[in-house]
């Protein structure tokens, strides 16, 4: 009897431990988080039995830094932008990720060669390529805008504009809208004249701009008719246009694209599960699967060939990807070297500019 009791207790304990194994993943919410839940979280739980808790934030880098500094980390994996991944890593706030733990491509190419250039850093693994583009309501402009310059042209295309409340991507777009070719944008932003020029261009639409903060806002602003066009993350516009049949069109000219990466904050409570999750979520098939749910390009070369149709079974994903050739004619790769360094200063100036009347 005693033996039986001990056995059942032990079994319960094991059962409890197995059930209690979990990993919390912090991401950006909305259509993007949905794509991750469908493509990564659900299959991960099915295969390993580890529960995945999905947490939303406007920008996960902020709470991560606060948690690590306060010594109270509750998040195991976070999805952050490139400049933030580098900065947090430099400040010793992230676990290093050994590329050897990442699975190779199906044809045997090791992960270090399979990922796109720059997609692997000391502390981060890129999952997707996303892009900041501008989009408009085609029922308002049947002969829609086609270039970045049109976004800043209030005479030809009257109506309010929406932009992210922050310096990043806006300054680049302002210069491209002013006629600077994508390849010369960062060289120009390194100079004071270049920055003045970008702000001068933003000045021309400042009075007619509504500033958004969360990625879910711009499709809402467009749908409400509050803005005639707005900058947005391309996947959000895709989700609204295809899944909700909104008449939104994306203009790829002047797009600013960059990686989103998975990082593991130092002191993550479930470190082993977190590593397992990152390796699982960034394998070839999973990255290709995610493109079924949202139009962000996979970070692995081998995933490209597997990207097919949207989950509705009829929309071809290729033309909606930031990385497809026809969308890259005048595109800019966001420079993390530039933003890691100048983020604080330029955002301060942006705030001063915003507050001044």
């Amino acid at each position: 009897m005693k033996k039986l009791l001990a056995l059942t207790t032990a079994l319960t304990a094991v059962g409890y431990a197995a059930a209690a194994e979990e990993v919390s993943v912090m991401s950006w919410g909305g259509a993007y988080a949905t794509s991750q839940i469908e493509a990564y979280h659900k299959p991960f739980t099915a295969e390993t039995g580890i529960t995945v808790i999905s947490i939303d934030a406007d920008n996960p880098a902020t709470p991560i830094k606060a948690q690590v500094e306060a010594g109270n980390v509750t998040v195991d994996v976070a999805d952050v932008e490139y400049a933030d991944a580098i900065r947090l890593c430099d400040e010793g706030m992230l676990e290093t990720i050994d590329p050897a733990m990442l699975p190779a491509a199906p044809d045997g190419t090791p992960a270090t060669e399979d990922f796109l250039p720059g997609a692997l850093t000391d502390c981060a693994v890129a999952s997707i390529v996303f892009s900041t583009v501008f989009a408009y309501d085609s029922s308002k402009f049947p002969e829609g805008p086609t270039t970045m310059a049109d976004f800043f042209d209030l005479e030809k295309f009257p109506g309010k504009r929406g932009m992210r409340k922050g310096a990043k991507a806006n300054l680049e777009m302002a210069l491209m809208g002013d006629g600077v070719p994508a390849a010369e944008v960062y060289a120009m932003l390194e100079t004071d004249e270049g920055i003045d020029r970008a702000f001068a261009k933003l000045d021309t639409i400042k009075a007619d701009t509504i500033w958004w903060e969360a990625g879910a806002q711009p499709p809402q602003l467009l749908a409400d008719g509050e803005v005639a066009m707005t900058t947005a993350y391309n996947g959000r516009i895709f989700a609204a246009a295809v899944a909700e049949n909104k008449p939104f069109e994306v203009v790829w000219d002047g797009q600013v694209y960059e990686y989103d990466l998975f990082v593991i904050p130092k002191g993550a409570p479930n470190l082993e599960a977190a590593k397992k999750f990152v390796a699982f979520a960034t394998d070839t098939q999973r990255l290709a699967d995610q493109a079924k749910w949202i139009s962000y390009g996979p970070g692995r070369k081998s995933s490209g060939a597997l990207v097919g149709l949207y989950q509705d079974g009829k929309t071809e994903m290729g033309p909606h990807m930031p990385t497809s050739a026809e969308n890259l004619t005048n595109a800019l790769a966001s420079s993390y070297e530039f933003w890691v360094d100048r983020d604080a200063e330029l955002n301060e100036r942006f705030n001063a500019w915003l507050a001044a009347n």
Binding site: E69, D90, K160, I210, A344, N347, A352, W353, A355, N357
Partner: protein, 422 residues
């Protein structure tokens, strides 16, 4: 009274209690026991306040003057700065100290933290540290040439000035930034360029907007509170529920409902356009600007004005006003000379409450303020987000001091005893 007895007892040493002890000690013991018991009763509250209020605020204030990100990572440079006064040209010894510190930073992974601290006062210095630390192992004497070859920014006096000011953990740098100043290359203070000045302007704007909101609240709340105080009970109860109803609704829900009502394609604009009062292209802009912030904050803070006013007005006997009228005062004179002065404690309490709440408000301006309706609290939030906690702390401390000064002024002008919160 007790003290009197004790004093008398002290003068007459012969007095004892029934069990033979001196009366003085017996009394002191009894009083000490009562005091201890009283203290134990308030102890939980005291502990609560110390741990949830005094300590965090103290920590916040400390953060605004203390940052050891650079000084703890660069001991050799700190020593060099200590030995050489401001104005000394950095010599080979200085560069050797820098090279040694960079090597250590690489080993400890502290280059990012150190660079971030210097970057607060001099932008673009962050990557100077991280990139130089990456190449630090290959550095060989003479270090001056080697480091300048690695990155010519090391020759810039501004970098050395910024490192000098970061070399002491106790610093006024964050207050310098928070008042729109910066350090010139020689360490003297100068105003930042006009297109980057923001904090003082926002402080001013925050106080002015809070004043406007307080005044609007007073204008709207006064008649409502008067009605509440004078109506028969069954009507005033209903009115009171209407006043309190918004209180029971989430702040975010109330704010978003205002967005729905007031935005460009919102309910109010649609009604005005469909009635032909406004043209379709002449829609009022009441959201995502200063107007939106004022309207929504006035609504949200209104109950804080109504309730103190109501509690004061209820105690004013109507016979005073009737007496004034019967002595020949006009209704305006009666209001001005008799009624209004008696409501002053309520006005003072309501105004102070609304003003102080408005000065620190941030969710509402963040949601409806757009560009022109931002307050200083949004800037504090921004720096918390960008994890420049020290600057956020400095701004908060300045806000706290501003509010305390106003509180002191109020005490001098009106008197804090003359305050009735309910």
């Amino acid at each position: 009274m007790m003290a009197d007895i004790a004093a008398t007892a002290g003068m007459m040493p012969g007095l004892t209690t029934a069990d033979g002890r001196p009366l003085k000690t017996a009394l002191a013991e009894a009083q000490a026991k009562a005091r201890r018991r009283a203290f134990l009763l308030v102890a939980p509250l005291l502990l609560f306040i110390v741990f949830t209020f005094v300590l965090p605020i103290g920590q916040m204030l400390q953060r605004s003057v203390y940052h050891d990100g650079f000084s703890s990572a660069a001991p050799n440079l700190v020593a060099w700065f200590g030995a050489n006064p401001r104005g000394t040209e950095p010599d080979e010894a200085a560069f050797a100290a820098l090279a040694a510190d960079l090597k250590q930073m690489k080993a400890d992974k502290t280059a990012g933290a150190a660079g971030t601290r210097v970057n607060y006062t001099l932008s673009e210095s962050r990557s100077l540290f991280t990139s130089s630390a990456r190449g630090a192992d290959k550095l060989e004497p003479p270090f001056k040439e080697a480091l300048i070859a690695l990155d010519d920014k090391w020759a810039a006096p501004a970098v050395w000035e910024a490192m000098r000011s970061a070399a002491t953990p106790w610093t006024a740098d964050f207050y310098v930034i928070a008042t729109d100043f910066e350090r010139a290359d020689d360490g003297s203070l100068q105003k930042v360029p006009e297109n980057q000045q923001i904090y003082l302007y926002l402080f001013g704007k925050t106080f002015v907007l809070s004043g406007v909101i307080t005044f609007l609240c007073l204008l709207l709340a006064f008649p409502v509170a008067h009605l509440l105080a004078t109506l028969p009970m069954r009507y005033s109860n209903l009115l009171m529920i209407l006043v309190l109803l918004p209180f029971w609704t989430s702040l975010l829900v109330r704010t978003t409902s205002w967005i729905v009502l007031l935005q460009g394609q919102g309910v109010l604009n649609n009604v005005l356009v469909s009635l032909g009062i406004l043209g379709d292209d002449g829609r009022l802009e009441m959201m995502y600007n200063q107007t939106g912030t004022i309207i929504v904050m006035t609504h949200i803070l209104l109950p804080f004005m109504i309730l103190p006013l109501y509690s004061v007005m209820r105690t004013i006997p109507p016979s005073y006003a009737r007496a004034a009228r019967s002595l020949g005062a006009t209704s305006w004179t009666t209001f001005r000379r008799i009624y209004l002065p008696q409501t002053l404690p309520g006005i003072g309490a309501g105004a102070l409450l609304v003003f102080i709440l408005a000065v620190g408000y941030y969710i509402t301006p963040a949601l409806v303020g757009g560009a022109s309706g931002q307050l200083i609290s949004n800037m504090i939030d921004f720096h918390m987000d960008k994890s420049n906690w020290s600057l956020a702390a400095a701004l908060s401390a300045m806000l706290l001091v501003g509010v305390l000064i106003l509180y002191w002024l109020y005490d001098r002008l009106i008197g804090i005893d003359n305050l009735k919160l309910g």
